[in-house]
């Protein structure tokens, strides 16, 4: 659990982060969104003390993050950034081993961890371990950057626009990977982005920042249904609202008994995907199957339209 308690950061008397308090639940993904200059990156960097706050405190599992030296704190917290920041003179394996080496792990344990992470990120350890970062594609570099951040098995992973430099197709893949990784390790992830689609796709909770303040902090659905300020409304996009609502619920949740013809949809796809399928194929109902392929019922166009409407 990360408790952010009345944290403020001022540069030359101007508050970049202004009296922010929020609690981040363990084993969740929290996405901080906002325009550039809203203070979201500064907020993130105060968690691992790359930036020292002017006032306020941050507690990790109840322990003040100033109770140990900054560099020791940072070895316990994963940190992944835009443009990956891999060390160009070190191999992929050496890059991933950075924090474990700093912590003085045994050679064997480090090697095992590196191989495990490379395999997890679909990079063959024998092939990619000895390569240098410039020999990898953009997507592979980004994966190695996240693997490096996770190498010392941190409870908390901070990510600063980690997918900002990737093309849309690789970015979608990287987001899926991140969700899988988060499930696998149960890591608490705090991710900063200005991409609202990314935020809605990944977040358990979204914090919207505007001019140094968190103007709303809650589950994605809450942001759409009851935006706290007009800024939140603008950020979500007025014309996007019904689709955002559908995009955060799974097709399985809209299932009703009955039959439907044609290509089925898996229950773990979003309702937005179901709507797209319906519209594109010109049907009024879709059969829904479970992840294992068992028929579960159907989802109808009417039901989806009701779900996309503004709550009363």
């Amino acid at each position: 659990m990360i408790e952010i308690d009345a944290i403020t950061k001022q540069y030359d008397g101007v508050a970049v982060v202004d009296d922010v308090s929020m609690v981040i639940e363990p084993r969740t993904i929290t996405v901080v969104v906002g325009t550039s200059g809203s203070g979201k990156t500064t907020l993130l960097r105060m968690i691992n003390r790359l930036v020292e706050p002017s006032s306020g405190a941050i507690r990790l599992d109840g322990e003040d993050n100033r109770s140990i030296a900054g560099y020791e704190l940072r070895r316990r917290i994963g940190y992944a950034i835009q443009g990956h920041g891999l060390f160009p003179h070190r191999t992929v394996a050496q890059n991933i081993a950075t924090v474990p080496s700093l912590l003085g792990w045994e050679r064997r344990r480090i090697d095992l961890k590196v191989a495990e992470l490379l395999t997890l990120f679909q990079l063959e350890p024998e092939i990619y371990g000895p390569r240098y970062p410039h020999e990898l594609s953009g997507g592979q570099q980004q994966r190695v950057g996240v693997a490096r951040a996770l190498a010392a098995e941190p409870n908390v992973l901070l990510m600063d626009e980690p997918f900002g430099a990737l093309d849309p197709i690789i970015r979608a893949k990287a987001q899926e990977d991140l969700l899988a990784i988060q499930k696998h390790f149960g890591t608490t992830i705090v991710l900063v982005t200005h991409d609202m689609n990314e935020a809605f796709h990944l977040a358990h909770k979204i914090a919207v920042m505007d001019q140094g303040k968190v103007v709303q902090y809650g589950p994605p659905a809450e942001l759409v249904q009851t935006p706290a300020t007009s800024f939140v409304e603008t950020l979500i996009g007025e014309t996007e609202r019904p689709f955002r609502l559908l995009s955060i619920s799974r097709a399985g949740m809209a299932v009703e008994p009955g039959e439907a013809a044609g290509e089925p949809i898996r229950e773990d796809r979003t309702q937005q995907d179901a709507l797209a399928d319906l519209l594109w194929s010109g049907r009024t109902a879709l059969p829904v199957v479970s992840v294992t392929g068992m028929p579960m019922g159907r989802v109808t166009l009417d039901a989806l339209l009701k779900r996309a409407a503004r709550p009363l």
Partner: protein, 247 residues
């Protein structure tokens, strides 16, 4: 141009230089036409090989000391606690460069006497600037995301310097040393005016006895050394750059 041609030319130059230093007499017919009858065509007041080695020695030590001091200075002023001294150290090193070498020699002789010492001082002062500037440029222009990642993964300042900043700066630092060496190779000849044993002796002897062959021999050896060392260090630089993943 074929890829092997530059390498072959350098190898030939090295071979020629060695042959001339070991058996200068065999080159006599080449220089004969440059001197008056009865005058010696090949330098005869000492061993050319010996002078070349002494010349290289003084350049080596001057550059070594300059490199150590300049790199340390650049590291110091790029740390948070030393940043106040950045402008001061820059101007100090710049002054070293604007001072003419002859003036340094003239000032150093009364203080340390004739011989190698004043030359060493002049070369050292002259070698500082290129190395300092290059180290400074390298340390302050590292990729932001790499330095940020090093901090974010919990490296201490010292670990960042040794493991990340210096290895990545090394090619550019070697570039500075290369410039410094070449400047020193030519400046060292002036050291012979204050009795340092360098190849300047050959040139000065030629000037005094109006012997064009002597002047040419001193000049050509220094020139060949400069070309070969410059190319050698360029190659080292390229290897380091490749290893640092820069190119």
């Amino acid at each position: 141009m074929k890829a092997w041609l530059p390498t072959a030319l350098r190898a030939m130059l090295l071979l020629l230089l060695n042959a001339f230093l070991l058996f200068p007499e065999s080159f006599e017919p080449l220089f004969k036409s440059l001197v008056q009858p009865n005058a010696p065509a090949i330098y005869n007041q000492g061993s050319l090989l010996n002078l070349t080695l002494l010349h290289l020695k003084i350049v080596f030590f001057a550059t070594l000391i300059a490199a150590i001091i300049a790199v340390l200075l650049a590291i110091l002023v790029t740390r948070p606690f030393g940043s106040e001294f950045l402008p001061l150290s820059r101007s100090l090193v710049n002054i070293g460069q604007t001072f003419p070498p002859v003036a340094v020699l003239a000032l150093a002789v009364p203080a340390v006497g004739f011989g190698e010492k004043p030359t060493l001082i002049a070369l050292f002062l002259y070698g500082l600037l290129p190395i300092f500037e290059n180290t400074l440029t390298a340390l302050t222009n590292l990729p932001r995301s790499v330095v940020e990642a090093a901090r974010g993964s919990g490296m201490t300042g010292f670990q960042r310097l040794l493991q990340i900043e210096l290895p990545l700066s090394l090619p550019v630092i070697v570039g500075g040393i290369r410039l410094s060496v070449v400047i020193s190779l030519s400046t060292a000849t002036i050291g012979s005016t204050v009795a340092a044993k360098t190849l300047g002796e050959v040139i000065i002897a030629g000037l005094q006895s109006n012997n064009l062959a002597f002047i040419l021999q001193g000049g050509l050896i220094v020139g060949a050394l400069a070309v070969l060392i410059y190319d050698g260090l360029s190659a080292v630089e390229a290897v380091l750059a490749r290893r640092a993943g820069v190119r």
